[in-house]
C-alpha cells in the first residue's frame, strides 16, 4: 500500500490532557474508517492531518508534506469538519462559490464546480435557499459538498453522517464509497460501527488517544454482534414507524421517547435493520437518526481488556 497520510510517533496534548499518544500509522487510497467512542481522539487525529493542529511531538505528513503549515496541500485535500457551523446568511450556492474562490478557481469554474457538487449531494433544488433555513441533513450535505467541490485527492470527513435521515445517509454512504473507488484517500471518523461498516471494511480503531487496532472491520463486527445496537429515530409519525418495524425479527425492543417524536430501537442485526427501515422512515417522516455509542464503548472495553 502507498501512504497518503503518515503519522510518525505523533502525539498531541492540550495542557496536561493527552489527546493522541505516540501514534504511528499510515492511511492509503480508498476509504478508511476512523472508529472510536466520543473523546477517543478521532477529531484530534483528523485535525492533525487537516493542518489545524500541530503535533506536540512526532510528525504528521499528507501527500509527503508536513500537514501543519502547508496551506498548498488544500488544493488536494478536502475537509468536512464536525461542527454544525456556517455563515448562515449565505445560500448553499453562495457558500460553495465563496469557498471555491478561496481555492483559486475563476468565477466560471467556481460556478461549474458548485453546481456539480450540489448535484452530488442532491441539493440542487435548495441551492438558492439560505443555509440558516436548511434542515440538519441538508446542512450536513452542504458541508460535505464544500469538501469535495474542488475535486480533492484526500478527503477528511469528521462524523459526516451525524444526524442525517436514513435516505440521505444512504446517499452519502454511496458517495463516499464512490470517492474511494475512484482512488481517493477518504478518512471518515465515526463512533458508530455500522456507519463505518457501510462505507468500508478498513478501519482504524482509536481509544484513549491510541490506535488500538487497524484492519478489517469484520473482526469488530463479530464482537459487536454480541452487543445489541441502539438506534434513535425522530419521526413526524413515530407510531407509524413503530408499527412498521416492531414485527421484524431483528428488532429486540422498541421504546417511545418522552417528547413523543423519538423512537428508540434495539437490534441485534443493525445491517438488516438499516436496510429495512428506509421505506418506513420515508413514510413516517424520519428527520433525524443517530446511534448512541454505549455499545461501541463496550466493545472497546473488551478489546482493551483482551
Amino acid at each position: 500500500m502507498t501512504a497518503t497520510l503518515e503519522y510518525v510517533r505523533a502525539s498531541r496534548w492540550y495542557g496536561p490532557v493527552i489527546a493522541l499518544n505516540d501514534v504511528t500509522t499510515t492511511v492509503g487510497p480508498g476509504v478508511t474508517g476512523l472508529l472510536g467512542p466520543n473523546g477517543a481522539g478521532k477529531s484530534t487525529f483528523l485535525k492533525l492531518a487537516a493542518g489545524q493542529l500541530a503535533p506536540s511531538q512526532g510528525e504528521v505528513r499528507v501527500l509527503g508534506r508536513p500537514a501543519w503549515g502547508s496551506p498548498e496541500l488544500f488544493h488536494r485535500v478536502g475537509v468536512c469538519p464536525e461542527p454544525d457551523a456556517f455563515w448562515e446568511g449565505l445560500t448553499g450556492f453562495q457558500f460553495l462559490m465563496a469557498l471555491l474562490r478561496l481555492t483559486g478557481f475563476d468565477d466560471a469554474e467556481c460556478r461549474r464546480r458548485a453546481e456539480q457538487a450540489l448535484e452530488q449531494v442532491a441539493l440542487t433544488e435548495a441551492r438558492d435557499r439560505k443555509i440558516g433555513g436548511y434542515s440538519k441533513g441538508m446542512r450536513q450535505r452542504i458541508k460535505m459538498a464544500q469538501s469535495l467541490a474542488h475535486d480533492p485527492q484526500v478527503l477528511l470527513l469528521d462524523e459526516p453522517l451525524s444526524g442525517m435521515d436514513p435516505v440521505n445517509r444512504r446517499r452519502i454512504v454511496d458517495l463516499v464509497k464512490k470517492l474511494g473507488r475512484e482512488g481517493r484517500t477518504v478518512l471518515v471518523s465515526s463512533h458508530i460501527l455500522h456507519e463505518v461498516e457501510a462505507m468500508t471494511r478498513r478501519v482504524l480503531l482509536i481509544h484513549n488517544g491510541r490506535i488500538l487496532a487497524e484492519g478489517d472491520v469484520r473482526e469488530i463486527r463479530d464482537l459487536m454482534d454480541e452487543h445489541p445496537h441502539t438506534v434513535a429515530l425522530r419521526a413526524r409519525d413515530p407510531r407509524a414507524l413503530a408499527r412498521a418495524v416492531v414485527g421484524s425479527t431483528h428488532v429486540l425492543s422498541l421504546t417511545f421517547g418522552a417528547e413523543g417524536e423519538w423512537v428508540t430501537v434495539q437490534t441485534a442485526r443493525p445491517d438488516e435493520f438499516y436496510s429495512s427501515v428506509v421505506d418506513a422512515a420515508v413514510e413516517a417522516g424520519v428527520s433525524e437518526m443517530y446511534s448512541p455509542d454505549e455499545n461501541l464503548e463496550s466493545v472497546f472495553k473488551y478489546l482493551v481488556a483482551r
Binding site: E59, P81, A98
Partner: protein, 281 residues
C-alpha cells in the same frame, strides 16, 4: 520515517499550480468578498450606523437652533467638536474596537474558521481580506456622515466661503481614515491575541488613552495624541487637556501612526499565522 512510499501528488487537469498557495491578492480579495456582506448586514452595523451617523441629525438640530445659542458658539467650532471629540476620540475608535476585534474572533466563535483555514491560502491573506472589509465597511459608514455634517454646519449662512473650508474637510477625511486604520490595526492585534478583547479594549480607549492629556512624554505612548494633532481646527481644550494638551508636529504624527499601523498589523499577521484554533466541540 515510514518506509511506505508516499502517494504522488496528482496534478489537476485544470492546470492550476497546486504546489503553491493561491496568490496573496487573489486570496485576500476572495476573503474580502466573503466577509464584506457578513459585515454590512450584521446587527453590529446597525449599531454603527447610529453611532457614526449621529452627528448628521445633531447638525440638523444645530442648524435649526443656532440663533438661540450664545454668539461664541460658531457652526465651525461645533464641527471641530464633532471631528476631534466625537469621531477621532470616541466613535471611530469604538467602531474599530467592535469590528476589528471580531475579525477573527467571530469566525472562531461561530466555528467557521475551519473553512478558511482548510483552503490553499496563506493565513495572512485571510487577515488582509478581513481587515480590508472592515475598512470598507467603516469608511462607507463614517465618511458620508462626516461630509454631510460638514456641509450642514458650514452652509448655515449660505454657501459663500465654503470653498475655502473644503481643504479642511479633506484633511479631516484623511484623519478619519488614519484613525480607523490605526485603531483597526491595534484592535485586530488584540483580537488575535486575546480570547475576550472587548473589555481590555474599552479600558485602553477610556483609561490608557487619557494619558494623551498628561504632561511630558506620556502622550506619545497613546494613539489619540498623534491623531488629534493632525486635526487643523481642534476645539479649545478644557480641564487638564487645556493645561497639558500638546500639539505634536505633523511629520512626527504621520511617522508614528504609520509605524504603529505596520507594527500592529505585522504582529497580528504573525500571531494569526502561527496560532492553532482549537474549537470546542
Amino acid at each position: 520515517m515510514s518506509a511506505i512510499p508516499a502517494v504522488p501528488a496528482a496534478a489537476p487537469a485544470d492546470g492550476r499550480d497546486v504546489s503553491r498557495p493561491v496568490p496573496f491578492l487573489r486570496a485576500a480579495r476572495a476573503v474580502f468578498d466573503l466577509s464584506l456582506e457578513g459585515m454590512v448586514w450584521s446587527r453590529r452595523s446597525l449599531l454603527m450606523i447610529l453611532l457614526l451617523g449621529l452627528p448628521a441629525p445633531l447638525a440638523l438640530v444645530f442648524r435649526t437652533f443656532i440663533t438661540r445659542l450664545p454668539p461664541r458658539v460658531g457652526a465651525f467650532d461645533f464641527y471641530g467638536v464633532v471631528i476631534a471629540f466625537y469621531y477621532v476620540r470616541n466613535a471611530l475608535p469604538l467602531a474599530a474596537l467592535f469590528y476589528a476585534t471580531a475579525l477573527i474572533a467571530d469566525e472562531v466563535e461561530g466555528k467557521t474558521i475551519t473553512y478558511l483555514l482548510t483552503r490553499p491560502i496563506q493565513r495572512v491573506s485571510v487577515l488582509a481580506g478581513k481587515f480590508a472589509a472592515y475598512l470598507a465597511t467603516t469608511l462607507a459608514l463614517a465618511l458620508p456622515a462626516v461630509v454631510l455634517t460638514f456641509f450642514l454646519l458650514t452652509t448655515i449662512r449660505g454657501w459663500t466661503g465654503v470653498g475655502a473650508l473644503v481643504p479642511d474637510l479633506f484633511r479631516d477625511m484623511g484623519v478619519v481614515v488614519l484613525t480607523l486604520v490605526t485603531y483597526g490595526a491595534f484592535f485586530t492585534l488584540m483580537g488575535v491575541l486575546l480570547r475576550r478583547p472587548v473589555i481590555p479594549g474599552l479600558l485602553f480607549l477610556f483609561v490608557w488613552e487619557l494619558l494623551a492629556n498628561a504632561p511630558g512624554y506620556l502622550p506619545r505612548f497613546t494613539i489619540t495624541a498623534y491623531l488629534r494633532s493632525l486635526i487643523h481646527h481642534r476645539p479649545p481644550d478644557e480641564g487638564l487637556a487645556e493645561i497639558f494638551a500638546q500639539v505634536l508636529p505633523t511629520a512626527l504624527c504621520l511617522e508614528a501612526v504609520g509605524g504603529m499601523i505596520v507594527v500592529f498589523l505585522a504582529a497580528a499577521a504573525w500571531i494569526f499565522s502561527n496560532r492553532e484554533y482549537v474549537l470546542d466541540q
